[in-house]
């Protein structure tokens, strides 16, 4: 029997519902998450089902939301907070960077903060300014934060459950362009833990490394390459921090070629970190330098220009073409 189909919004909703039902200390709060069920309907029905003490709207202040989550976590709760959009999390940056990320270290582990900060992120939805940022590098650069970016609906469920159950703070980046795409999700099948990447497609010739919204793009590129006689594999990182060097490097050592795909501007990015790590660890196995296919180093474009910005199949395949293939070396 096949599992029920659900959207990523529904998968996350189910994860929240199951977590709230299972653990009295889980509370969900943010802007428009209660009566409305979130602007993306991710928290739909939770307030009605669990009541005001478990799922509630706050005054409109992101720093307030995250700061209060810190205190609630210090007092034994597991807050799961929503930032309405990527760029609207910035008022909370101070709390995230100075406290959420550091309180555990500051207190030699005496105070742990099991907080999940859910952020709808990245583009591809024709959103106007401030609604499409890929902000992962800010968080990934901050020691103390776990940074997760699911690409499948099953992972969205499983990784969120793990994030809520864990003892450290997690920035949970939800690729918003996936919110309404349906996939089969069997919530009873466990997914690999946070920190483990997954090979979504094995390949002989080169490895595409991606996370979040770029995974389906990488898979589409591999699909296209296959029709042109090139066998590309795809690794889905699932979590940016912790980073799974082992899985990534095992794949790259097998193929000898790698392209990192990510939507964020490439300069000083997560993609750059991945390329550097792979270069350091797989140097003797590489046939060509690791390439990055990323957004340009510009602010996220207005809707009518975003297709020029987003890494697509063609740009990925162009990068693959430059990986110094023997048959092309004169």
């Amino acid at each position: 029997m096949s599992a029920p189909k659900m959207t990523m919004a529904q998968a996350i909703n189910t994860a929240l519902r199951d977590a709230i039902a299972e653990d009295d200390s889980v509370v969900v709060f943010g802007e428009d998450v209660a009566q409305l069920g979130g602007v993306f309907r991710v928290t739909d029905g939770l307030h009605q089902e669990f009541g005001e003490s478990r799922v509630f709207d706050t005054p409109l202040a992101e720093s307030g939301i995250v700061g209060m989550a810190v205190g609630m976590a210090m007092n034994g709760m597991r807050p799961v907070v929503e930032m309405q959009f990527d760029a609207f999390a910035y008022p909370a940056f101070e709390q995230i960077v100075s406290h959420v990320a550091k309180l555990g270290n500051r207190t030699r582990g005496k105070v742990r903060l099991p907080i999940v900060i859910r952020i709808p992120y990245a583009g591809g939805i024709g959103g106007v300014e401030h609604h499409c940022d890929s902000s992962e590098a800010y968080y990934a650069h901050t020691p103390g934060l776990t940074v997760v970016a699911p690409a499948t609906n099953a992972d969205a469920y499983g990784l969120l459950r793990a994030a809520i159950a864990g003892s450290d703070p997690v920035v949970f980046l939800e690729p918003k362009k996936h919110y309404f795409a349906k996939e089969e999700v069997d919530v009873s099948v466990p997914v690999p833990p946070i920190g483990r990447a997954v090979v979504r497609r094995p390949g002989r010739d080169a490895t595409l490394i991606a996370y979040g919204p770029s995974v389906p793009v990488a898979l589409a590129a591999a699909e296209q390459a296959a029709t042109e006689g090139r066998d590309l594999g795809v690794v889905d990182l699932r979590s940016i921090v912790p980073f799974d060097d082992e899985t990534v490097c095992a794949e790259v050592r097998r193929t000898g070629r790698a392209v990192v795909v990510a939507e964020a501007p490439g300069f000083a990015s997560v993609a750059s970190e991945i390329a550097a790590r792979v270069g350091e660890r797989c140097f003797h196995h590489l046939e060509a330098p690791v390439r990055r296919v990323t957004g340009f180093d510009v602010p996220y474009p207005p809707p009518k220009l975003e297709h020029h910005f987003l890494p697509g199949v063609d740009r990925i395949l162009d990068a693959v073409d430059t990986l110094q293939w023997e048959d092309e070396v004169a």
Binding site: T58, A87, F88, G126, V128, F296, V298, R315
Partner: protein, 358 residues
């Protein structure tokens, strides 16, 4: 602080009641000036309707309507002098148009062509701010700089009821008060921040009353009463210009439509509530009053409607015109001089596009 000041910050000031009658003891407004105000209200309403239609036709990505708030939109622009500044939000398209910016240029943002379609310096109108309350500090900065330069500029800074919960709102009020900056903070309290009702933003007796804590005057005014708004905002502007510092003005109004077309207000508020506000319509009472005092007849009403239609047609034509967004714009404005890396990336995109065309 006197009892009178406290009352002014809590009880909404009014000149025209819902039935279009002057409240007892209120001075009669100048009928010609009010008729001009009425024309602007009709334009603002027509613009809201036109933008709604353009969204339904897929010409605009999204539109946050100020229907029901037109008196606020008109008043905040009409009390400003030419050199003054306006700091609007995404909801204030009609206010920017009332300030004199071509609505088609304003709609560049919502059409998805570029982040801002008008020149802020030319019109003294800042780009529409989306990150809530952040623009209020910029307004304070423009005002403080004007003082330092010896200019008598006044800055009108707009935000919603929800935005008053952000830290930046507090910081802006405090900075303005401490520096006696010539700013008027104008909060359009339309009772909702998307789905979240006012009661979840604040349990203070009003939003204007917060001014007292910063050491500046605060006034609450009927936000659907154009003459009252123009009086209160006008006096605040005059005080600021005279070097007497900032004022916080709260308009008691209501968001008649959903947050944007993408929102479904039936999920969080009863239709009855909306219906209750309809008789308080800002256009209706001015019209009734002007008609009663003989300053508005059918002929003038028709002329105003025809001019509003003309404006709407121009908006339709302008927004409907096919535009080609230039991909090279992506790189042109990030720095005053593009970095070598950006020049390289521009060349990459250019080569890709040439290949596509070939």
């Amino acid at each position: 602080m006197s009892a009178g000041q406290l009352k002014a910050a809590i009880t909404p000031a009014r000149l025209l009641d819902e039935t279009g009658r002057l409240v007892r003891g209120a001075p009669a407004p100048d009928a010609e000036a009010l008729a001009e105000g009425y024309r602007k209200l009709v334009f603002a309403r027509r613009l809201n309707e036109q933008c709604g239609a353009l969204v339904r036709q897929g010409r605009l990505a999204v539109y946050p309507s100020s229907r029901g708030q037109e008196a606020c939109q008109v008043a905040c622009a009409s009390v400003l002098a030419e050199g003054d500044w306006l700091f609007p939000t995404y909801r204030d398209t009609a206010a920017i148009a009332a300030r004199g910016v071509d609505p088609v240029e304003v709609l560049t943002l919502l059409r998805g062509d570029w982040h801002c379609g008008y020149d802020p310096n030319e019109h003294k109108v800042a780009p529409q701010a989306t990150p809530l309350a952040t623009q209020l500090l910029h307004a304070v900065g423009v005002a403080h700089a004007a003082r330092l330069k010896g200019e008598d500029t006044v800055v009108m800074a707009l935000c919603g009821d929800g935005a008053t919960s952000e830290g930046d709102f507090h910081e802006a009020c405090n900075f303005a008060a401490v520096f006696r900056a010539p700013v008027v903070f104008f909060v359009q309290n339309n009772k909702y921040a998307i789905s979240v009702p006012l009661a979840r933003q604040s349990v203070a007796p009003s939003l204007a009353v917060k001014a007292i804590g910063y050491g500046m005057p605060g006034f609450r005014v009927d936000g659907n009463d154009l003459p009252a708004l123009e009086k209160v905002l006008g006096e605040a502007v005059a005080r600021a210009r005279a070097g007497e510092g900032p004022t916080l003005v709260e308009a008691d109004t209501y968001r008649i439509e959903s947050h944007t077309n993408a929102d479904d207000a039936t999920r969080y508020r009863a239709d009855d509530e909306v219906t209750e506000w309809l008789p308080r319509d800002p256009l209706l009472r001015v019209r009734t009053y002007l008609t009663a005092v003989g300053a508005l007849d059918d002929d003038r009403e028709k002329k105003i409607a025809a001019a509003a239609e003309e404006m709407a047609a121009a908006v339709r034509a302008g927004v409907g015109a096919e535009t080609v967004a230039d991909p090279e714009d992506l790189f042109a404005h990030v720095y005053s001089t593009p970095t070598p890396q950006l020049a390289e990336q521009r060349a990459t995109l250019r080569a890709e596009l040439e290949l596509e065309e070939a």
